[in-house]
Amino acid sequence: MEILTNIGLNHYLTISALLFGFGLFAVMTRKNAIVILMGVELILNAANINFLAFSKFNGGMEGVMFSLFIIVLAAAEAAIALAIVINIFKLFKSVDVSAIDTMKE
């Protein structure tokens, strides 16, 4: 029961690795542009958890700062991403990335 009562670094790292895996899975298998962007957010948050956990157990402030900046930039990226997706929907009447493929060699 040690593993359940004492939360250590490995618990955080496992969660973040799982999140990273889910995010990557979503990016690779989903067709909807919005869901792909959600997968990207999962990857970013996995990195966030890593930074915070390492910061807690290594005892420095850099990780906390890093994750704050990641949160802000993720928001900026989401704003631009949604603007582009809305424009895509106006032009293609769909946000399915497999349908948006007009350029071919």
Binding site: V27, L37, V40, F54, F66, F69, L73, I80, M103
Partner: protein
């Protein structure tokens, strides 16, 4: 857990910030210019495309005035090790400002951009922001600054790619660029977090010292290097991370394609060199030290596939922008060869090659823009017979393509020569790499020469006997680029000396 800083500590922090600002003047000027362009756009009514372009170009030219005095400043870290000022960073400051000026120039030439876009207001401001971001990419020495500057370049590039809002291809390109870009920056961040976990540092010099002192798990290091390489490799457009580039290059407005293919690619190389040369431990000679082998092997594999894939797939392309996209993948492979040599000669060759690539690639896209103004298309078949109707553009494109192949007497030849000789100077280990480079250049000869073949030796299907209507400004600018490409192929000593002086990187110990 964390103590509030005392009054004396705050005083010293403020003193450091104040002393660092003096080393940061060109970046501050670019930020001012960015805001100035937005204000000019708001204040002036009516059609102002040329006004904004000239403000942007003059402002960028004024940046040289702020960069040049920095040569006399002391090399070193500023802003608590977040940022660095050294000859390597200064080289890229010049490089990105020149590429920004050329990007403004080709944007003025593009009729489609100036006709179809209702408001060009933010366009030039975003180009300035991208110059700023790329300069910061080349100078950051902290994982946090690296991430922030890469995102600054990335986010502005997504917007610029999708700038033709009503054009489906442009929007599609923006979406693809965005999806691949955000995934690869996510992967890179995860790699950064692993590095931070191993060392508890974010400054690359301190990371290097920490890894050398305490050692590390090779498997974890390999994983982290691979993830970080996904982020950098996406910026340089090398093979496993290249999927975005053909579609983005074809769909984006052509001036932005030209700008991305040179600027953002060079920024990727700058950050890749600084990160891998400084942060990850290496034992001087490659192959003597296992730690150095990790990422060097990765780079060799990437370089070889990039050269082969880019050159072979380009053979079947019918769209000239797409063809140049595949050729730019191949060129990423050639530049990586210079990095693999991992010594002063190799860095010098890499920097020189990037300078040459700036001239010849922007030049080639310049001609593509001028031809698209006339024919409204970028298809290879529509280039038929244009050599006689647009004599200057035809001659210039031929020169740029010869330079891209790497034939004398052009700057591209000297660049390839320097890269291959840097590899051969390392002894027999890299002969096979240089050989692959030479052989793939021969493949490149075929698809590049298809364009002059169509322009000069085949007749066009539609009768089109208009005379050349290219404005005189663009004719002169194009002629200057063409002459420079040949001139520096013959008298290359100033540029090679400049590249040699610029290969000094702060905190570097491999050569």
């Amino acid at each position: 857990m964390f103590q509030l800083p005392s009054g004396a500590e705050i005083e010293s922090i403020i003193a450091t910030l104040k002393s660092s600002v003096g080393f940061f003047v060109p970046e501050i000027w670019l930020s001012v210019l960015f805001m100035l362009l937005i204000v000019v756009d708001l204040a002036v009514k009516g059609r102002k495309n040329n006004l904004l372009a000239s403000v942007a170009a003059l402002g960028l030219a004024a940046t040289f005035f702020f960069i040049y005095p920095q040569h006399s400043l002391a090399t070193g870290e500023i802003f608590f090790g977040m940022y660095v000022l050294d000859e390597f960073a200064l080289f890229f400051k010049y490089f990105f400002v020149i590429s920004g000026i050329l990007a403004v120039l080709v944007s003025v030439a593009d009729e489609q951009l100036n006709r179809d876009v209702q408001s060009i207001g933010e366009y030039y401001a975003l180009i300035i922001a991208m110059v700023l971001g790329m300069i910061m990419m080349a100078s950051s020495t902290d994982l946090l600054m690296m991430f922030l500057s890469m995102e600054l370049v990335g986010l502005t590039a997504y917007v610029l790619t999708g700038y033709l809002k009503k054009d489906a291809r442009s929007s599609e390109a923006a979406l693809k660029y965005l999806v691949y870009g955000s995934v690869s920056s996510g992967l890179m961040l995860y790699g950064f977090s692993l590095i931070y976990g191993m060392t508890a540092e974010t400054n690359i010099m301190k990371i290097s010292a920490e890894l050398a002192l305490h050692g590390y798990d090779p498997l974890l290091m390999m994983l982290a290097s691979l993830l970080i390489l996904a982020g950098f490799g996406y910026k340089i457009g090398a093979v496993p991370f290249h999927f975005w580039s053909p579609d983005v290059y074809e769909g984006a407005p052509t001036p932005i394609t030209a700008y991305l293919s040179v600027g953002s690619k060079a920024a990727g190389f700058a950050i890749l060199m600084r990160f891998f040369f400084v942060a990850i431990p290496h034992g001087g000679e490659p192959f003597q030290d296992i730690a150095g082998l990790d990422w060097l092997m990765l780079l060799i594999v990437i370089a070889v596939i990039s050269m082969v894939y880019g050159n072979v797939v380009a053979l079947w392309q019918k769209n000239v922008k797409r063809l140049l996209a595949y050729s730019s993948i191949a060129h990423a492979g050639y530049v990586l060869l210079g990095i693999i040599a991992m010594d002063e000669l190799g860095t010098q060759a890499t920097l020189f090659y990037l300078l040459g690539y700036l001239l010849m690639n922007i030049g080639a896209f310049y001609v593509v823009i001028l031809i698209a103004n006339r024919t409204g298309s970028e298809n290879l078949d529509d280039y038929r017979g244009l050599g006689r109707k647009m004599p200057l553009a035809g001659a210039a494109l031929t020169v740029f393509l010869i330079s891209l192949v790497g034939l004398p007497p052009t700057i591209g030849f000297i660049g390839k020569l320097m890269i291959f000789s840097a590899l051969l100077a390392k002894g027999s280990v890299y002969i096979w790499l240089a050989l692959i480079g030479v052989l793939t250049s021969v493949i490149a000869l075929y698809y590049y020469m298809l364009i002059p073949l169509n322009m000069y030796l085949r007749d066009s299907k539609q009768p089109d006997e208009d005379r050349d209507r290219t404005p005189i400004v663009h004719q002169v600018a194009l002629a200057v680029l063409m002459i420079l490409t040949i001139y520096f192929g013959l008298f290359f000593a100033p540029l090679t000396d400049f590249a040699k002086a610029s290969s000094a990187m702060f905190g570097l110990s491999i050569y």
